[in-house]
Structures are given as C-alpha cells and as structure tokens.
Symmetry: C2
Subunit: 146 residues, 2 copies
DNA sequence: CTTTATGCAAACGATTTGCAATCCT
DNA sequence: AGGATTGCAAATCGTTTGCATAAAG
C-alpha cells in the first residue's frame, strides 16, 4: 500500500497534474512543475528560469507556462511588491500565508490562519512592526449573470 | 465646538497632514491629498493624474508624490494585479479590506476584520467563488540588528 | 540663499505579443 | 495531419531616473 506511493516518481506525478488540468505534456511544463514541487518558493519567473537546467526553455516559455498554471490554479501568484509576481505550487492541503521583511525582503511562511493568532505567532518568530494586506477576490453579483 | 471643525477647509487640513509628515507644501501634493481625501479609491497613479484639474502637474510628479506618501504612510498601496499599484488615503480610523471581482475588476470595500465573518459578509453581498490573499509585512529579527 | 520639488525626455524592467518553426496527440 | 507550444525579436506598459529649471523654507 504505502510502497505504491513511493513508486510514483516525479515524472508520473507531474504528468498526472498536467493531465488533470488538461494541459499537454511538454518538457518545459514538466520541468517547471517539478521545480515548484521540490522547492517551496515563492519564486519570481526569473528565479524559476534560472533554477531550471540550462537550455530547458526560453524565459518567455516560463512566463507562458506560469500564466497557464495560474489560470488552472496549479500555481498561486503573490503580489508583494509592484516589481514582480511570485509564484508557488498551489497545494490545497498546505494553505498558508507569507511574511516579508520590509528591509531584506526575505519571505517566510506560516500555517496559522486566524488573524490575532497570526500576529502573536509572528511576534514569537521575532518580527516587529507588523502590517498586513488582506484582499479578497471573487465574482460579484452582476458578473454572475453574464 | 463643532463649528470649529467645520471652519477648517480642505486646504488647512491638507497642509496639516503634510506638515505632520514633514513634507514641504506644494501645489501637486496638496491637490493629490485633497483628491484622496474626497474620493475613497483605491486609484491607480494614472487615474489620480486624470482626476486632477488639467495642468496641475506632470504624471511623473504624481508618481513621485505617491511614493513619498506611501513612505510616510499617508497613503496605502494595494497590489491586486500585477499591472499596477492602487493607492488610497490611509485613515487609521477606517481600517478596511477590499474585494475585487475577478471579471469586471470592480473593487468594493468592507470593514469586518475577522476572516470567517468576512466570508459570510461577502457572501451576503452576493459574491461567489471567494478567494483571499493575506500577506504580512514586518521587520525580521536579523534586520532589527543593523 | 540653500534645499527640495518639478517638468521633460529618455531609460528601465517585468511581462506580453507576433510570427515562423516545432512539438504533442 | 492539425492544432497547440515554443523560440526569438520586438513591442508594451507602468514606473523610475537624469538633469536643468523653478519653487519652497
């Protein structure tokens, strides 16, 4: 039973994910998903491109794939700064949020999900001067009829 | 008592705000703050520029002012989309969050601030398929010693 | 009068697009 | 085969920068 899971190598898992989302199986797509499964991120498109083995694909392909992954909800984008979007694999079983340092920009993550608990938990981690951004995205009443 | 408050016109209020933040008093700054006090936003830099009376200032000045306002926390930036930053006046007495429609991109705001209450409140407003983005910004332990 | 802010033009950087060649199914 | 995907080059768009001029304290 448990051994079955072990036998599934990364390629099988990645192909499964792509098929689930009805995306065709190509080398760049497989490599990008593999990377995002292995390393938690979030990473910018450029970071992802640089982490891929040389000559995997063009940087434009990375952008195109990431956009498709976001559309199909395989990947989640974060907008910390105006300069660039950061992407990470969207694992529904590991819902989490981020904290970025205003100064060094290092991003940390945590799994608490109640606002007041969060601030306490971050304070324990040594963060000071904590602010947050909370935005909701949905489909409004008007757009549901069209 | 109450009449004193009424006598303070917008210019006085705006000058007060700028002085508080130790920013020099210039026409573009006054006009931008006035606009953000009158209209709640959030607006993009371009929208703000277009809402200003013609020939108030250059669009570059709008960007420069908004950046200073964000630095001094007079204004709050939001990063809904990758395309542009949206700004609004930062009134600490009216803490709120936003919801954007995935389709028409219209932005609405609300004042609830507990996650589960929020989702209920948004559902009552007619939103469907609600997701959220919650990011924290602070200064990490390492950066406090430097 | 010294500093700071502005306008204009040009630069920038992340992301997107057009199109021909190539890969998936 | 036929539609989707890629690479390359060029375009796009929001935002920033350099520098000379003008306004603020």
């Amino acid at each position: 039973m448990a051994s079955i899971k072990k036998d599934i190598n990364w390629e099988t898992k990645v192909i499964e994910l792509l098929k689930e989302k009805k995306l065709s199986i190509t080398v760049p797509r497989k490599m990008i998903i593999r990377l995002l499964l292995k390393e938690h991120g979030p990473f910018s498109a450029e970071e992802i491109y640089n982490k891929l083995p040389k000559n995997t694909c063009d940087q434009v392909t990375v952008y195109r794939c990431l956009n498709q992954f976001v559309e199909t909800q395989l990947v989640t984008p974060s907008y910390f700064e105006k300069e660039m979007v950061l992407f990470e694999f969207n694992d529904p079983h590991h819902h989490h949020h981020h904290i970025i340092c205003k100064i060094c920009k290092k991003i940390d993550s945590f799994h608490d999900c109640i606002l007041n608990k969060i601030e306490t938990s971050l304070a324990k981690k040594g963060y000071k001067d904590i602010q947050h951004r909370l935005e909701f995205i949905g489909v409004c009443g008007a757009c549901q009829n069209s």
